[in-house]
């Protein structure tokens, strides 16, 4: 156990990040347990806002033979003191060093957290490369970025693909048997690779073509499986969901109850990785949600509950659920929040009902500025939808509207970028059409653009990301077009998007770049104040790797992609047909209106997609 005394904790910002001791955190006897460190490769406030952590943490701690604890990336001030005082990375519950654990599991939520993983392993004195580990914990990864595991292939002992609720229990069952035998680490990895959803990268070799593309992936033994299927929880109503959640002692980013209403999304937006990898849609029943809400409110004391999903207004019983929650908790001052709103007047009315009070900002994501582009990405909303929604928002008293867009989408031309400005102007015009006495004074329209990053398992996985120059030009174009004092324009840092593009579609050869960049001092790359593009470029150069090969190169449709060996359910044929439809601007309807044949049903028992 590490001694964290005042000499350290009084010298850092927000020491509460490092002390644990939160309500509902789990304290139990560690002796004889399988020890699992759930690691989030970012600072405490970010990590503790992550729903997956809360589910897995409580799930694993339900097991009597397992003690799951948490670890986060220490902020640089703390890291410096830890290194100076030779304090290894520790878990918050027991303050034991991570090297004492059986499993060190990281969740991969965004590519820009990868250097933090390396840094955390180093701080934990765990060898960075899987091949160098012997009497060390198994380092495992899961989460959405694990669907392209290859950039971390040499770091990982294994990956967990898909929903972790069931598969982690299978892994632990296997481990507890293995622990009592004399079998080697290698033997465990071979054994665990037999579990569906588990990928052990060291069992495979990659052969490359002369042009640097992948020729094929070769299992080192014939018995190793060649296709890894993601895991799916068939019925969300019966699957594990915690009835209590840790209540942090210091404010975190999402400091409220997160009530997961459903997984998956039926919209089929072509840029959206979540919309593809989390298929199929599975809802929880309203009664189940009401029951969970009640328990969570009692156990946490939170006064806000957020209904989470990829697109909350698509929950089939949303109006009833919201009404019931409002009715039930009005007296006890529990607020309800609905993230991920769609652009339609139904959503505006719904949010008006729950925000009877302060009209803080309202955010819409048209994603693209012209109808052509919205059809390319299969967004399925029209300008009319947006204008109608902002009109009702203005009439209901909102005056602060945020609009999210992407630039750098496939098939985008300058006029599509200019269309973003035009749309923003139309929103301003709509405000002034509302009679003065009906609208709230002080209009503010914020336009934000992020730069599109092509992701694996989307129809745009072959697309060459726009170069930084192209993106700069588009941002400049937009800046010049937006002259209104009512409109503010924000944009996302281009170099970060470029690097994200490299890693999202990278292969195994990037592990060494990652480690080099970390050696040069890169960490917290998702934080603008820490991001150092020049160091990254130096790392690529020293490793003799061209980042453009990964980011800006258009792949041919028959190229072997680094993640091709993973089966997420959605078929390659479907993605190709979606890419082709995108080019022609042909829409694919929401799959609630009829199956679009993405392929997911073949992973489901009975081949049925929707909840009965």
């Amino acid at each position: 156990m590490i001694n964290l005394n005042e000499e350290i904790l009084l010298k850092v910002q927000k020491p509460a990040r490092y002390v644990g001791n939160e309500v509902n955190s789990v304290i139990k006897d560690k002796n004889g347990k399988i020890r699992f460190a759930f690691c989030f490769p970012d600072v405490y406030e970010v990590g503790m806002s992550h729903l997956g952590l809360k589910i897995i943490y409580h799930l694993l701690n339900e097991r009597e033979d397992c003690y799951c604890e948490r670890a986060f990336a220490p902020w640089p001030d703390m890291e410096r003191l830890m290194r100076e005082n030779k304090i290894p990375l520790f878990a918050l519950e027991t303050k034991d060093a991570l090297s004492e654990f059986d499993f060190v599991g990281f969740t991969l939520q965004y590519e820009m957290s990868y250097t933090n993983i390396i840094n955390m392993l180093d701080l934990a004195h765990i060898p960075l490369y899987s091949k160098d580990r012997s009497n060390h914990p198994f380092v495992i990864f899961g989460g959405p970025c694990a669907y392209n595991p290859e950039p971390l292939a040499d770091v990982a002992d294994f990956f967990v693909l898909g929903e972790g609720e069931e598969v982690l229990n299978e892994v632990l069952d296997l481990y507890s048997k293995w622990k009592d035998t004399n079998a080697t680490r290698r033997e465990f990895l071979e054994k665990v690779s037999e579990i569906e959803g588990i990928y052990v990268p060291s069992l495979y070799e990659i052969e490359y073509n002369e042009d640097g593309t992948i020729k094929r992936m070769v299992p080192k033994k014939e018995i190793y499986k060649t296709k890894i299927k993601k895991r799916i929880i068939q019925n969300l109503n019966n699957s594990y969901y915690p009835e209590k959640m840790i209540v942090p002692l210091t404010e975190v980013v999402h400091d409220r109850i997160m009530l997961e209403t459903f997984r998956g999304c039926t919209r089929g937006c072509r840029f959206c990785q979540a919309g593809m990898i989390y298929r199929p849609i599975r809802e929880k029943k309203t009664e189940k949600l009401m029951d969970l809400a009640d328990k969570l409110i009692k156990e946490t004391g939170y006064d806000e509950i957020s209904l989470t999903s990829l697109s909350i207004c698509d929950y089939s019983d949303i109006q009833n659920l919201v009404n019931k929650l409002i009715e039930k908790y009005r007296e006890s001052n529990v607020g309800i929040s609905l993230p991920s709103l769609r652009i339609d007047s139904f959503s505006v009315n719904l949010i008006n009902e729950i925000q009877k009070v302060r009209k803080t900002g309202l955010t819409f994501a048209p994603e693209a500025g012209t109808q052509k582009m919205r059809d390319v990405i299969n967004k399925g909303v029209t300008e009319e939808d947006l204008i109608k929604s902002v009109r009702s928002a203005f009439e209901l008293g909102w005056n602060n509207i945020k609009l999210y867009f992407m630039i750098g989408l496939p098939f985008e031309e300058d006029e599509d970028v200019e269309g973003i400005a035009e749309l923003a102007y139309k929103v301003v015009d709509e405000y002034f059409k509302v009679p003065k006495e009906k609208r709230q004074k002080g209009l503010n329209v914020t336009v934000s653009t992020s730069s599109f990053v092509p992701k694996p398992f989307t129809p745009f996985q072959w697309f060459g990301q726009n170069s930084m120059d192209e993106l700069y030009k588009k941002q400049k174009l937009l800046k010049e077009k937006i002259k209104s004092r009512f409109i503010t324009y924000n944009w996302h840092e281009t170099p970060i998007s470029f690097l994200e593009g490299v890693f999202s579609r990278g292969d195994r050869r990037l592990t060494k770049v990652l480690i080099k960049a970390w050696e040069l001092g890169c960490k917290f790359d998702g934080w603008q104040e820490h991001f150092d593009f020049e160091k990254w470029m130096k790392a690529f150069q020293e490793c003799n790797i061209d980042p453009h090969f990964y980011a800006t190169r258009e792949r041919s449709l028959d190229e072997v992609l680094p993640w091709d060996f993973i089966d997420v359910g959605v078929s390659r044929e479907y993605l190709i047909s979606e890419y082709k439809k995108a080019e022609k601007g042909i829409l694919t309807p929401d799959c609630r209106q009829g199956c679009t044949g993405c392929g997911i049903t073949k992973l489901l028992k009975g081949g049925k997609c929707f909840n009965e």
């Binding site: 000499e7 309500v23 209540v247 404010e251 156990e299 004391g301």
Partner: protein, 229 residues
Amino acid sequence: MNRYVIKLKKMGNTKYISHLDTMRTLHRAIRRAGLPLTYSKGFNPHPSISFASPLSVGIESLAEYLDVEFDSVLNENDILEKINLSMPLGLEALKVIPINKKMPTCMAATYASKYEIKLKYTEKDKIEEAINTIVNSREIIKIKKTKSGEKSVNIREMIFDLKLKNIEKNYFVVECIVLTSNSGSLSPDVIAEILKESVALGVPVVKRTEMYTKINNELVPIDEFFSRM
């Protein structure tokens, strides 16, 4: 409106929770306890919980005071028991005192705080001398940064009592009573800084041990004051 004053202990790792976070933590603890907390009326209802005086991050306390209001009259032992069942380890309610409407708030009543400051020493023999130097001086001028610039303040006037409590093998502990009020407060860190100029070193470890109000020139602990009324 049913007012109560709660005396709390904030020890161990809870000392690293900031003032605002402590407010949030208590709010949630009271909600978990199922006590009928009163909320302000209006657009953005907030709970009626307020502390006598914010405690800096890193300071333990045996005597934090807060005002709370509940929608109904409750038995003070019930409140105490229920709150303590839902508190994080380290935070503990010590007393609950029902008070009437006309009483001042804890914040308005507070005049002074007692602290223990633990420091490492350089020369054991000079500790008492260093403390006496402070006690015997009539003026200790410190520059204080304010919103409108800097001003010099005589902090000696803000120290009501200062003495050596004990000397241990590696450290010594001083006990002081200093001004804590709406019109100004002295941070125990200032005293630690002065001692560090002569005999002390390292990071001071501070604990608040009591808070006082002033009645007829006499310092009365806050809980005693409210219990007397």
